[in-house]
């Protein structure tokens, strides 16, 4: 499988990465090189094989259902580019 330029733009949009017009052709070539490299996986017979979900399967140990952290709003927002009263702020999303 290979991608065309419209697909490159669609992927960039899904990934929320702005791609300039002059970058599209280069990205298309790079993505197609990678997709052609992974093509060999089509040779493998995977009938009846379960996809891996955990590389070291072990029962999950649930933690105790208690509040063990919190009250640190200043620390949580300390690195944000824009905040107001311990809230993150973003450009307006609703009119």
């Amino acid at each position: 499988m290979s991608v065309d330029q419209a697909t490159v733009r669609r992927i960039a949009r899904l990934a929320r990465i702005r791609v300039r017009d002059d970058e599209v052709a280069g990205l298309q070539g790079e993505l197609n090189a990678i997709l052609s490299f992974v093509e060999r996986l089509g040779e493998v017979d995977v009938d009846g094989i379960e996809p891996m979900t955990a590389v070291t399967p072990r029962p999950m140990t649930p933690r105790r259902d208690v509040v063990d952290d919190g009250g640190i709003a200043s620390a949580v927002t300390a690195n944000a580019p824009a905040t107001e009263d311990h809230f993150f702020t973003v450009p307006k999303v609703i009119e």
Binding site: R16, L35, T56, A78, P91
Partner: protein, 496 residues
């Protein structure tokens, strides 16, 4: 005291306890070495005051006879580990200026055991790369130089990646050991390129909590150091169960140092025929043969084995790792931390921020990951890759079930190369560096790279040993046997 930096970690530890020098003297020697090594660009942030503060505490404890396992030992921390109040960037513009309000579990374990921090080490951006050329803070230069004719060339050699700053700093004797991380070979390949020892532990052995995530099902923390014993000492402190990482495993951490020097008699070493692949240099193949002979001389039984799905591991990795990366890196949205590029509306803000904040390799991998997870392609790419991952793991399980204790392979297909030499046109050329290491991440197993010789042009070459899950101890034993048998790989003299 100028040669304190040349000591091994174990020798520095023993010297401190014997009061031959103080922790402050040891740390000042390292701080001076770091300050004088700017041309290597190993550090993104230097923290000499942190080291001095911890060294004073260490001297008090040493004076009272209450030394902890790493008391006063200066280390470098890969800038993927969050460090409380100290800038943590993942070598990305998008995290420039980020000062975590918390400490990663693994680095906290090292401070608990008395180590000191010299600074934050450079890496490939978000640990994506095999040459440390993708860092926003500039490439790392290896202390190694290659011979051309009778002379050492001045061409900058790459230290490997992604833990290139860790490997170069250890090889240049700027620190006694360093933390690193390995998603597809990022500890073992740079260790092999710099004549150092690096171990990727079993998935779950070290906590991932507080380490910037790349591909969560593959990422694992581990040390790089100048010899096998030093690596064993560091891993014992780094490892252990952490309730904050649900994939970290609640198993006792053995005294790995005790495994160094143990007998190889009767241990079975597997040699996988599928690792004799195209593109392997003749000298790497010869090195592998010597490694087999050293193992046999040490008393091991050598057995040919087959890992039939090896040839698919790298391709499956380049689906699974970008897929996980595209999810993990969705958090960099210009809202909670790091860079924000202002824009009219929130979607524009996301898109402009991520275009400006991520470098080219990271953007490319996020896009591959987004594509293979997108509607209509998920089964053909992602699910198929995860099925092949099951087969890769099964290959190893079969070998171990048949009695193999560890598997010996080359660490990399070639020695290190010069900056700018690979991957500029075709990304796959760079990805092939990880062809021998990536299988281990796909199967969650431990793997160690140990120096075993030098190439015709004078650069180090490494061998890799792969072990059973949670049997790092056997890897330390086997790697120490290779270290003892191989001609000593002398680290380069200072030119920087």
């Amino acid at each position: 005291m100028s040669d304190l930096t040349a000591l091994s970690l174990a020798a520095a530890r023993d010297g401190l306890r014997a009061k031959r020098f103080s922790a402050l003297e040891l740390n000042e020697a390292s701080i001076t070495a770091v300050a004088a090594a700017k041309p290597l660009n190993c550090f993104i942030t230097e923290t000499p005051d942190h080291a001095r503060r911890a060294a004073r505490v260490a001297d008090e404890r040493l004076g009272r006879g209450e030394a902890r396992p790493l008391e006063g030992i200066p280390l470098g921390i890969k800038d993927l580990y969050c460090t409380l109040g100290v800038q943590t960037t993942a070598a990305s513009r998008i995290l420039q200026g980020f000062e975590p309000p918390y400490e990663s579990t693994v680095s906290a374990n090292l401070w608990r055991d008395g180590a000191t921090m010299l600074g934050k080490l450079n890496l490939d951006e978000f640990a994506m790369g095999s040459s440390n050329e993708t860092s926003f803070f500039g490439p790392v230069v290896s202390p190694w130089r290659r011979r051309e004719g009778d002379e050492l060339s001045e061409a900058a050699i790459v230290p490997g990646g992604s833990s290139g700053g860790s490997a170069a700093a250890v090889a240049a004797r700027l620190c006694f050991g360093a933390t690193a991380t390995d998603t597809g070979g990022s500890i073992r390949q740079p260790a092999a390129f710099t004549g150092t020892v690096g171990i990727k532990p079993t998935y779950g052995r070290c906590s991932r909590w507080g380490i910037v995530a790349f591909a969560s099902s593959l990422d694992q923390a581990g040390p790089i150091a100048r010899d096998v014993r030093d690596c064993a000492i560091l891993l014992r402190s780094m490892a252990g169960h952490d309730p904050k990482d649900t994939t970290s495993v609640d198993l006792p951490v053995p005294d790995y140092e005790a495994a160094v020097g143990a007998s190889m008699k009767g241990r079975v070493i597997g040699i996988p025929s599928e690792y004799r692949m195209d593109g392997m240099s003749a000298e790497v193949e010869a090195l592998w043969e010597r490694g087999i002979a050293w193992m046999r001389d040490a008393g091991a039984d050598i057995r040919e084995i087959s890992l039939p799905h090896t040839r698919y591991a790298l391709a499956a990795y380049y689906i699974v790792a970008p897929a996980e990366a595209s999810s993990n890196l969705a958090r960099y949205d210009g809202v909670r931390y790091g860079l924000r590029v202002p824009a009219r509306d929130v979607v524009d803000m996301y898109e402009e921020t991520r275009a400006a904040g991520f470098g080219r390799e990271v953007r490319r991998r996020i896009m591959v990951g987004t594509y293979v997870l997108s509607a209509g392609y998920y089964d053909a790419y992602y699910v198929r890759a995860q099925k092949i991952r099951t087969l890769i793991k099964r290959d190893f399980e079969n070998a171990f079930a048949a009695g193999v204790d560890a598997i010996l392979t080359p660490a990399t297909p070639t020695a290190a190369f010069a900056a700018g030499e690979k991957g500029s046109g075709d990304p796959i050329e760079m990805y092939l560096n990880d062809v021998f290491t990536v299988t281990v991440n796909m199967a969650g197993l431990p793997g160690i790279a140990v120096p075993a010789g030098v190439s015709a042009n004078g650069l180090p070459l490494g061998l890799q040993l792969i072990g059973r899950a949670f049997d790092e101890a056997t890897l330390f034993t086997a790697a120490a046997a290779i270290e003892a048998a191989a001609p000593k790989v002398e680290l380069p003299a200072r030119w920087w």
